[in-house]
Structure formats: structure tokens, C-alpha cells
Symmetry: C2
Subunit: 214 residues, 2 copies
């Protein structure tokens, strides 16, 4: 049993190493480096070994995407759950998401907008949906307590999610200059605008609070 556990650990580690190598490759130069042979060599294993851990290329990258996305969704979820007005939470969630994206620009760009194979793209849709789900919860809360206009929460959530994601595409694109001051300004603008969509009353400008973590 103890021995079996050691072996198991090895397996888990190797799998993690492959996932990591794949994530790094994407973070470094996008989907064009998303090739099994390359990732295998970066992970220090043979090409064929990748297939001991993943069913297919699509499976591998779906897992990479899930790994990274789940963290982002969790960050947003935590802010959604936090205390405070729905308006403030919404602004904070978007601002935080945007700031985090700007930090890991290249990877964020790949996850959000970079052209990629259809199979990966399909996995991306799930991530967007999960994010929209979190926003929808917040929208419901805001509607319930009268802060937000009464509107279909799912439609509203996709509008909000679409707004800030699309606005991020430009600043995240590899050809854009990575200026972290400008990044905060843009993030602030995006958060303010996206949230305004829902406010019932003309709201005093909310200052976004960064809840960047991890």
C-alpha cells in the first residue's frame, strides 16, 4: 500500500508536469506552441507518454484550460459571495478579473480571445459560461434588493461578461504595449462601464477595489 502510494505520487507528479509544461507553452507564445511533441519535451517525457495521462490533445488542453479558468472563476466567485452592495461587488469582481488578466497577459489572451483550434475553442465556451454564471448570481442579488434594474439575470450576466471580456481583448493582444498603469486605468473604465448597465439609480462613481489574490 505504502509502495503503491509512492507510485501513485509519481504518476500524479508526471501528469502535473505535463499540464504545467502545456500551460507554460501557451503562456509563452499561445496556441501555436500547443503541440504534443513540444509539450512532451518541455515536460521531459516522450511524446507517447502524454497519451498515458491524456486521451488526446483536446483532452490535454481542455484540462489546461480548466485548471487556469477554475482559479479565475473561483476568485470571481469569492468576490460575488463577499459582503457589500451588489453594485460594489460587481465593480470589484470585474476590476479584479481585469487586473489579473492584465498581469498574465499572454495566457489571458490565449484563454479569452486568441484564435485556436475548434476543440479548444469549444472548451473555452464552458469557461465563459461558468464566469457568466457567477455574474448572474450577483445580478439576481442586485435585482432582489432593488439595486439593479429588473431584467433577465442570464441575459444581463452575458452582457456584462461580454462587455468586459471584449474590452480586454484589445489591451491583452500581444501587440499592445504592456503598461501596468494604463492597465489599471483601463480595468477601472471597463469595470465602471460594465457595471453601469445594471444600476437602477444614477450611482455615485464607485471606486473599484482590487481583491486580487493568489
Amino acid at each position: 500500500m505504502a509502495i503503491a502510494a509512492v507510485r501513485l505520487n509519481q504518476l500524479v507528479e508526471t501528469k502535473a508536469r505535463i499540464l504545467d509544461a502545456a500551460r507554460e507553452a501557451v503562456a509563452l507564445s499561445g496556441w501555436k506552441d500547443a503541440q504534443i511533441a513540444l509539450i512532451a519535451s518541455r515536460a521531459g517525457v516522450a511524446t507517447g507518454s502524454v497519451y498515458r495521462y491524456f486521451d488526446s490533445k483536446a483532452d490535454l488542453y481542455a484540462q489546461v484550460l480548466a485548471l487556469v479558468s477554475e482559479r479565475e472563476v473561483a476568485v470571481v466567485a469569492a468576490i460575488v459571495e463577499a459582503e457589500g452592495s451588489a453594485s460594489q461587488c460587481l465593480v470589484d469582481a470585474i476590476y479584479t478579473f481585469a487586473v489579473r488578466a492584465m498581469r498574465g497577459r499572454r495566457l489571458a489572451y490565449a484563454l479569452i480571445a486568441e484564435p485556436c483550434d475548434p476543440e479548444i475553442d469549444a472548451a473555452r465556451l464552458k469557461y465563459r459560461a461558468a464566469l457568466a454564471d457567477q455574474i448572474a448570481r450577483l445580478v439576481r442579488r442586485g435585482i432582489a434588493n432593488g439595486e439593479f434594474v429588473e431584467i433577465d439575470a442570464n441575459v444581463a450576466a452575458s452582457c456584462v461578461a461580454g462587455a468586459f471580456m471584449e474590452a480586454l481583448v484589445g489591451p491583452l493582444a500581444p501587440e499592445a504595449a504592456p503598461d501596468s498603469d494604463a492597465a489599471r486605468t483601463i480595468a477601472q473604465a471597463i469595470a465602471g462601464l460594465s457595471a453601469r448597465m445594471l444600476f437602477r439609480h444614477a450611482t455615485p462613481e464607485l471606486t473599484p477595489v482590487s481583491r486580487v489574490s493568489a
Copy 2:
């Protein structure tokens, strides 16, 4: 000369037939039918003939995308140029865009959201940018005359464009039920929400006016 003209016509017609076949194939079942051999047979020409008219598969589909997109961008541009308050024009532009998309659901889905080859996806970005440009013009007008909050017009335009496009993805998806009443309702909600982002003053509900044409 007259003869050369006749021949030229043939060429133009054949090219149009190929473009048409490609568009139809996509409108019918999305990018999975975007295969040269299939499109050629639908157009009634041999596979090789496609290459007399287009440099490559990517070129062909980029032209298909441009063909369809330019019409949509033109429709939006016309509304942007129209008389009336910037707020009303914005609502109308979005509503009209949404209604038109709902009509040609399958094609719209393919153009906006369906996973596809990276090369096609890249062409899609241009379309989005062109649409955002039109919105940006309207945003500037609204800012100039005090209707809209003062904000970077390009950021605002991408927020707006992102909002209504993302909100359309769900309703356009092939698995969604195509109910044209519901479609109008959703389009209205999307237009209202997307536009509210910019309004400086709490605005009385604007009723979107369909300016669907052609």
C-alpha cells in the same frame, strides 16, 4: 472587347457561385462543412477550380466572412449616421443587429461564436473591430452632445459590442429553440442593457425601433 467582357462575366459569376456555395454551406451547418471539395461540388465546379479564384481556403472563407459582414456593418453604419439622439440610435443599431442575427441564426452563430479554424477566427476579429468602430463613432457623438458619460470611446465601444454579441451567443446557438417572439424580446433586452452602459442621465425607457432592411 465585347467578347472579353462576356468571358469576364463568366469568371465573375463562377466566383460568385463559389462564394455563394461556401456561404450556404456555413449557413446550413457551420464550419464543419467548410471544406474545399464540398464547396466545389455545391458550386458545381471541380475542386481545383476553386484555386483559380481563391488563393487558399483561408482566403475563400475570409472573403465569405467579409461579404456577409460588410452588409451587417453597413446596416449598423446607416443607423449610426441617422438622425435622432445618440441614445436612440444606439438602441436601434443594437436591436436591429440582434434581430437580423436572429433571422439568419445559423450563419450569425458561425460568424460570431462557433468554434472554427484559427485562420477563419482571425478574420472574424476584423469584423468585430469594424463593428466596434461604428459604435465608437456613435459613442463620440453621444459624448460630444452630453448624452453619454465621458469615457474613452474605444473602450466603451468594445464594451457595448462585447455585451450584445456575447448575449447573442446563447440565443443563436443551434441547440436553442428558434422562437421569433422570444427573439424580439431578447433583442430588446440586449439593446436596452447594452446602451444603458453609456447613458449619463437616467433615461426613460427607449423603445427600440427596428430598422431592419434588405
